[in-house]
Symmetry: C2
Subunit: 149 residues, 2 copies
Amino acid sequence: MAATLPARAFHETVAARLRAAGQRYTPQRRSITELLAAGGSPLAMPAILEAVGGLTQSSAYRNLAVLEQVGVVRRVITDEDFAHFELTEELTGHHHHLVCSVCGRVEDVALPADLEARLDSSLDRLARRAGFASVRHRLDLIGTCRDCS
Amino acid sequence: MAATLPARAFHETVAARLRAAGQRYTPQRRSITELLAAGGSPLAMPAILEAVGGLTQSSAYRNLAVLEQVGVVRRVITDEDFAHFELTEELTGHHHHLVCSVCGRVEDVALPADLEARLDSSLDRLARRAGFASVRHRLDLIGTCRDCS
DNA sequence: CTTCCTGCAAAAGTTTTGCATTAAC
DNA sequence: GTTAATGCAAAACTTTTGCAGGAAG
């Protein structure tokens, strides 16, 4: 699930969001967003550090925090040692994750539109009944991938 | 979503699972499972330590690890500082979580049976097409709870 | 009497923060 | 020239582990 936007519009969007927060679109940040867009699945910190040459750990965390604040990056919750990061759904479109419980591999996957719509409205009704408002959902599939089974 | 089993059968089940692994159902472990059963939603470490008097942090983590290994407890993945723990679905039944993005409060919630069934079969088909086998799902609803909106 | 459990303290590991320097606007 | 970004090192934080003493079967 790479960026649904062409590269040019993608970078302009990111730059605009950063500018609006008084932040800059530095080369490091550009490398990070490009990497996340290219990967197509959440990346862990070691992979990010390895892929972006000359990137310090502290700078990586700081840049990802900034990108998260402006709605470009999302921290993905996993049960592994390192946090994973991906572009927000505003940039990539709504999707879910296929997680291999053996090797930890994560793949993006989209639901058929009709199922997604039905699920969404059902969940909205359910949540409202429980007193929760403006609900989004996070759906992960956990199984064993081709290589691990 | 407290235990669906009566207290007696519940404790016998837990004891049997521990025994089968050569482990004991000590008072501390009993307090922990009772607490998790009573709460009805995932609990974080500080809450567990506070609720179970005389429980050390290291013992808490160790006991929860043992209970996890024998399939009684599940570590819940969140984006908060401390890990959360709940009873496994084998003991409580399949359910999902309503998470308040403001205060972090977590509530258990079940989907209507027909939707759950439809979702499950759709996801199974989807996963198989992607080369994933024996898939379970994790569905969380994120919104703002009554008190925070 | 052997095996497991507990508490204390220290270690491990990821993530965050302080501070001086460098780069961007 | 003012404000933000970077790198290095040290700190903070949750979780894990070692070890000695105590409890359970």
